[in-house]
């Protein structure tokens, strides 16, 4: 198979501006049979190729059962993502994937699900939230905790409001810096941890965001009696090949692209506690 690393042509079917720097591309493979065969699980990622510029790993945020389109929510921060931001409906790009291991949805069934995200970390987790809300009977309580630096950074405010109206669903949002219209907490997201309605014995935690935030969150959750093996973290490292070969994503002995990006906390405990690993 010489096609291991070869992208497939895809088309931008819809484009949504989420914030001044965050946008969602809704995509479809140009080859219909390729599109029909494409399957992913929440938490997995694709490599997006911008013609003549390069590739970048981005998690899939849409629902795995939606077979019409798959979505990528992207923050324009590097040269490739800033370039992707310029794509319009009808434009083409390359896609290969999906890669990695997604969230432990099977393990989560029948348990309370606590989702903690920071910054744009919410993107990989939104697919899980959608997944759970659409299959509500399979899960216990759903607690969604999201922290942002600045109130303006929160995307999908409308979705958070909507989720907060669902039964057995608690939404806790915080911004380090608020603004006049900010309806949620101003301060550290970890301030809100005491308000979480969770039963530590039957809770599964899925976390995504800056490593510093995840370190603190893990400590607080352990204090509340949540077991190490009940916490799952989506890690981020440079990924260039996505198949465990290029070596950039190494996190101790793990290849984040292949062994992750979602890891059980017990597996990466030592590594997470050290900076610059």
């Amino acid at each position: 198979m010489n096609e291991l690393l070869l992208p497939h042509e895809a088309e931008v079917v819809e484009r949504v501006n989420e914030s001044p720097t965050i946008f969602t591309l809704r995509l479809q493979f140009c080859d219909q049979s390729k599109h029909a065969r494409y399957r992913f699980t929440p938490g997995q990622f694709n490599m997006l190729y911008l013609y003549g510029v390069g590739e970048v790993p981005i998690s899939v945020v849409s629902d795995p059962q939606d077979d019409t389109l798959f979505d990528h929510t992207i923050r324009a921060v590097g040269r490739v993502t800033r370039g992707l931001a310029q794509l319009r409906v009808g434009d083409r790009l390359g896609i290969r994937g999906p890669y990695g291991h997604g969230w432990p949805l099977r393990e989560a069934e029948g348990r309370d699900v606590l989702i903690i995200t920071g910054g744009l970390g919410c993107a990989p987790a939104v697919s899980v939230i959608n997944y759970v809300t659409r299959r509500r009977q399979h899960f216990g309580e759903l607690v969604i905790v999201q922290g942002v630096k600045h109130a303006d950074d929160l995307i999908w405010a409308e979705r958070y409001r909507r989720w907060s109206t669902l039964e057995h669903t608690q939404v806790l949002v915080a911004a380090d810096v608020g603004n006049t219209l900010w309806p949620w907490h101003v301060g550290r997201v970890t301030d809100l941890f005491s308000q979480m309605h969770i039963d530590p014995r039957k809770t599964i935690v899925m976390m995504c965001g800056p490593e510093g935030m995840m370190r603190i969150a893990v400590d607080r959750l352990r204090e509340r009696g949540i077991d190490d093996s009940a916490m799952w973290l989506s890690m981020e490292r440079s990924m260039q090949c996505a198949v465990g070969r290029c070596g950039h994503c190494q996190f101790g002995g793990k290849f984040v692209c292949r062994d992750g990006p979602v890891f059980n906390y017990a597996e990466i405990k030592v590594l997470l506690s050290v900076r610059g690993i």
Binding site: N2, L4, G52, S238, Q240, G247, Q250, G252, G276
Partner: protein, 368 residues
């Protein structure tokens, strides 16, 4: 399997047999003051009588009156550049007039290559690169193509350098596996062993002589001498626990003060596999080429994500290299990533010695 004795005067017969079998032959040659692998067609191309002097950050050749072709320790190259190319085009993209993008794969190399003079350390390294690039579910097509057409003529190492420590890692000086043919070089000729049916086939064409008991004993003696000559060693073959227990050891800061973070160690390392994706669009914009190129955990780009460099200083980069090479390799490949070739010591411009650094960080560590 021992197949016989090849008198020195008939060494050309081996090259001819390989050529006849359709192989391009690569062998050691002196180039720009070092022994490197390059195309050979005649035995005169080989570095007869050459010997090396190596020490941390130092490499020099000296011509002697010895008749031997292989009386030296490894130069800067391993087999790595011949199977995992320093720069390799993976695929191409073409912009179509309607805005579409057409992708095409780059056909892998179909060259049949025979490499002569490969040492035990480099065979151990090749086995590790095989595990990395050929791992399921999908092997790397470019590596796999080169690897499948590679014929290895090993030479048991008789002359390790001051920087060699393959005895300590258990990978040499005698080649034990991974070769098609293996040679023990004596003054008057070569003991020939075959390791594969392919190798036995080539050996059969050489009309080898019967090996004398003296020759066999001499070959064994020189391996023993090579073993005894080595004085550097790692504290243990498995330093994983010791390294990961010492991630905040002051030695990391100390070595960072000496390290140039230039990436020479990772480039000459026969097992380092990191590579970067490189996009090269043509000026017209109508086509673009996607390649991979050797990268190093000592570069800033290696750990760069979303405007953050995870390993921003040399302390973190050197720690990444050493903890991976001697530590997390065990987790990934079931053994250390170091085969004791000593290249990272000789070819480090400032002569940093991996055995010394590992010794300092893991002082007191015993085998796990």
């Amino acid at each position: 399997m021992e197949t016989g004795f090849l008198p020195r005067g008939r060494f050309q017969g081996l090259l001819d047999a390989l050529h006849r079998a359709g192989y391009r032959c690569f062998g050691p040659q002196v180039r720009d003051g070092a022994i490197v692998y390059a195309a050979v067609s005649a035995s005169e191309d080989l570095p007869q009588g050459m010997r090396d002097h190596q020490s941390p950050g130092y490499y020099r050749l000296e011509r002697t009156s010895s008749l031997r072709y292989f009386g030296w320790a490894n130069g800067p190259q391993a087999l790595k550049p011949l199977v995992f190319a320093p720069h390799e085009v993976l695929w191409r993209a073409r912009r179509l007039p309607d805005g579409g993008i057409e992708f095409s794969t780059e056909p892998p190399s179909t060259d049949k290559l025979a490499v002569i003079g490969v040492r035990a350390c480099d065979l151990a390294a090749l086995a590790l690169q095989d595990r990395h690039f050929l791992a399921a579910p999908q092997s790397d097509p470019h590596y796999a193509a080169r690897r499948a057409r590679l014929f290895v003529v090993a030479v048991h190492c008789s002359d390790p350098s001051d920087t060699c420590f393959c005895v300590s890692t258990g990978d040499g000086p005698q080649a034990s596996a991974g070769f098609d043919l293996a040679l023990s070089e004596l003054d008057d000729g070569f003991l020939v062993e075959s390791g594969t049916a392919l190798g036995a086939g080539v050996a059969a064409a050489l009309e080898l002589e019967v090996v004398s008991a003296e020759a066999r004993a001499a070959a064994a003696r020189q391996i023993e001498a090579a073993r005894e000559r080595q004085h550097r060693r790692l504290p243990s073959r498995n330093l994983r626990a010791a390294l990961f227990a010492n991630l905040e050891h002051p030695r990391w800061e100390d070595v960072a003060g000496r390290c140039l973070a230039c990436g020479n160690c990772t480039s000459v390392c026969p097992t380092c596999f990191c590579h970067a994706g490189i996009e090269s669009p043509g000026l017209s914009g109508e086509t673009s080429m996607h390649a991979r190129a050797w990268d190093s955990c000592f570069t800033q780009g290696h750990s760069y994500i979303n405007s953050v460099t995870v390993r921003s200083d040399t302390r973190a980069r050197y720690r990444q290299w050493l903890t991976h090479k001697l530590g997390s390799w065990h987790e990934q490949f079931g053994r250390s990533g170091c085969v004791g070739c000593g290249r990272c010591i000789s070819w480090c411009p400032v002569g940093i010695d991996i055995t010394e650094e590992a010794g300092a960080v893991c002082a007191g560590a015993a085998d796990e």
